[in-house]
């Protein structure tokens, strides 16, 4: 007679507990081990590190939330931190205000019925997104360089030559220039995500709206836009996570110091500088971990907002 317990726990007839456990270990083991050791453990170890402070003799002592207090209030740390945080917020707002609306507009145009060359446009516009940030950053650096003068030539041609300035080199414009380059590179992602969401909307809905007397633009605003709201939510949270985790572009264009005068410094570069050290300071494991933990908390807050405010009202997913 079959054991009732075994029947409940194990869905495979004729397999003992031992071999069932073996089976699970075989399939789940490698992924769980690699993921835990190289992703989850470092994350927690970093948070753990942020609670310790290095003593002059090299030992690490438990410091509670002291590192966070230092980071947020001691001016040696708090000034760069708040500067990087503020810059990162600008970086994010510029993406939200420029990248995502452009992505939405492009997606809306690409999803128009009977548009010719749709796939070609889509493929070409997505192309910069494929390339390494290093390449993009350097290419733009060349293009914006007064030495080469390409951008100046363009502005002259438009009669706007007086606008030209070494944007990347000025404190007042470095951040916005870098942000716009990042927008230029990554606009493909919101575009593709929104585009697919738009394609999934049944044609009949638009037909119904047309019958109701809406023109194409009104139909887009009142019918399609509300339906792709979940996707816009997703795009926003992806933008948030990516922006607060960004590093490559600024490092490639401006180096670890994110100059001039830290005007393009964001969390990622601050973290790198703090942990590895640079011309100005020595590397600091505790404070590096503290900054990483702050980044983690910021991203966590963003993701939580998304999950609880937006995702919860929409369809949930599960494995």
């Amino acid at each position: 007679m079959a054991d009732a317990k075994a029947g409940a726990g194990n869905a495979i007839v004729g397999m003992g507990r031992g071999s069932y456990a073996m089976l699970l270990a075989f399939f789940l083991g490698p992924a769980v081990v690699i993921y835990t050791v190289f992703s989850i453990y470092p994350l927690f170890a970093t948070i753990f590190n942020s609670l310790y402070l290095r003593q002059p003799d090299g030992a690490y002592l438990f410091n509670g939330l002291g590192n966070f207090q230092t980071l947020l209030t001691d001016t040696t740390w708090s000034v760069p931190f708040w500067n990087a945080f503020r810059n990162n917020c600008y970086f994010f707002f510029i993406h939200m205000l420029v990248q995502n609306p452009i992505g939405l507009a492009l997606a809306a145009m690409l999803s128009l019925p009977r548009l010719r060359l749709r796939a070609t446009y889509r493929t070409l516009i997505f192309m910069p997104t494929m390339l390494s940030v290093v390449i993009i950053g350097f290419s733009w650096q060349l293009i914006l360089s007064p030495l080469w003068g390409i951008s100046k030539m363009f502005l002259n041609a438009l009669g706007l030559g007086f606008l030209f300035a070494p944007w990347l080199g000025q404190e007042s414009t470095a951040l916005i220039t870098v942000s716009l380059i990042s927008v230029w590179q990554f606009v493909g992602i919101p575009m593709i995500l929104i585009y697919t969401a738009l394609l999934a909307i049944p044609e009949e809905l638009i037909d119904a709206a047309t019958v109701d007397g809406l023109n194409q633009f009104q139909a887009f605003v009142w019918v399609k836009l509300p339906l792709i709201f979940p996707t816009i939510g997703l795009v926003s949270v992806l933008t948030f996570v990516n922006n607060f985790n960004a590093f490559d572009l600024i490092y490639a264009m401006k180096g670890a110091l994110a100059g001039p005068n830290f005007s393009a410094d964001i969390m990622g570069t601050l973290f790198y500088r703090t942990f590895f050290g640079n011309q100005l300071q020595l590397g600091d494991l505790s404070m590096g971990s503290t900054i990483a933990t702050m980044m983690f908390l910021i991203i966590l807050v963003g993701v939580m907002c998304y999950l609880f405010l937006i995702q919860r009202r929409m369809q949930r997913y599960s494995f």
């Binding site: 007679m1 079959a2 075994a6 029947g7 007839v13």
Partner: protein
């Protein structure tokens, strides 16, 4: 010998009991059909026999061998799935040969068996095709072929014809009946289709809410249903039921005062409340049966050669009667329905048949 014996089988998903104390014997070479309303546990029973679902308690033997703890492959069964479950990435030949390869059957033997099955099922020209290049009927035959090559003790079918169109379904039904005769196979077969059940089965098992309500020869279920559930489930349109009161002298009084006088079974006592059952096809409009009921015709559904009259009795119950030809009566007219004593079924208050 490939008898399937199931004793006291119980199975639950968490707190939900899906099979409750199932006892069933499938004789060697017999064709047993499981029927019952959707969700009653037919598939679960079949899958338990196959070893695809673990059971909580009970005993199963196939060919005298206890199989409770054997995996499907060692039970010497073959299953034909409703969706056919052909491997999409293999051609017809390999679909049939796949299991044999894993059983380390010698190559020549595999080839012989597959070719034999292909011959029987007329699949020879299709052996090199992929499942998606086949019609529904052809896929169905491949699925059966895959079962045949295994030379199982028992074939298990779960609604194998439900994805075919009406004409093909009748054809394939006949094919399966022939195949059963030819292979002398033991078969357990789940279906929703009453005609399939009645024509194919040596024995029909009617299930309801995880229990076996009655098992028996098709006509036995039709003429002597054990209880109200079976009576209502077998036959289409369904049997008419009317509540009645037993009075002295073998009189059955309906709630509207109409009375029938019958030779009542001994277990019927005056004062009992019973349910009377009679099938539409056993009633006639007018006619001269022993029993008669009168009422007003609500509507007559005419199908051509026959039709169904829905007659409302004064008590408010509606009775359906089959009418042959094209009766000249119509809605709103009063009608007299008659039927014979042989066809009257009486059930007690618990719904059990009284004989």
């Amino acid at each position: 010998m490939s008898e399937v014996k199931i004793e006291k089988l119980c199975k639950s998903y968490g707190p939900v009991e899906v099979l409750k104390d199932i006892n069933l014997t499938v004789g060697d070479g017999s064709f047993v059909v499981l029927v019952g309303p959707s969700g009653c546990g037919k598939s679960t029973l079949l899958r338990s026999i196959a070893g695809l679902e673990p059971v909580n308690s009970g005993n199963m033997t196939i060919g005298g061998r206890q199989v409770n703890d054997l995996p499907p492959a060692q039970r010497e069964i073959a299953m034909v799935f409703q969706s056919y479950a052909l491997y999409p990435h293999m051609d017809v030949y390999n679909n049939m040969a796949f299991g044999l390869k894993f059983a380390k059957t010698p190559k020549a033997e595999i080839e012989a068996r597959v070719n034999e099955a292909a011959r029987i099922l007329q699949l020879e020209p299709l052996l090199k095709r992929r499942p998606r290049e086949l019609s529904g009927g052809q896929r169905q035959r491949v699925a059966i072929g895959r079962a045949i090559v295994r030379k199982p003790q028992v074939f298990l079918f779960d609604e194998p014809l439900s994805n075919l169109d009406a004409a093909l379904r009748i054809n394939t039904r006949v094919e399966i009946a022939k195949l059963h005769k030819m292979l002398k196979a033991t078969i357990v077969y789940v279906t929703h289709d009453q005609v399939e059940a009645m024509t194919l089965a040596d024995k029909i098992v009617v299930m309801n809410k995880g229990r076996v309500e009655q098992a028996g020869k098709p006509l036995e279920l039709y003429y002597k249903p054990n209880n109200l559930f079976v009576a209502g489930f077998i036959g289409s349109p369904a049997m008419n039921f009317l509540p009645a009161q037993v009075k002295k002298g073998g009189i059955l009084a309906l709630s509207d005062g109409q009375e029938l006088k019958a030779a009542l079974p001994s277990s019927c006592k005056a004062g009992d409340t019973v349910t009377l059952g009679f099938r539409p096809e056993h009633m006639t409009l007018g006619g001269a049966g022993k029993f008669a009921l009168t009422g007003i015709i609500d509507i007559i559904e005419r199908l051509g050669e026959s039709g169904f009259a829905h007659v409302r009795l004064p008590s408010g119950h509606t009775v359906v009667a089959e009418v042959r030809g094209d009766p000249r009566t119509g809605s709103g007219q009063s009608a007299k329905l008659t039927f014979d004593a042989d066809y009257l079924h009486i059930f007690n208050a618990e719904g059990q048949r009284l004989d």
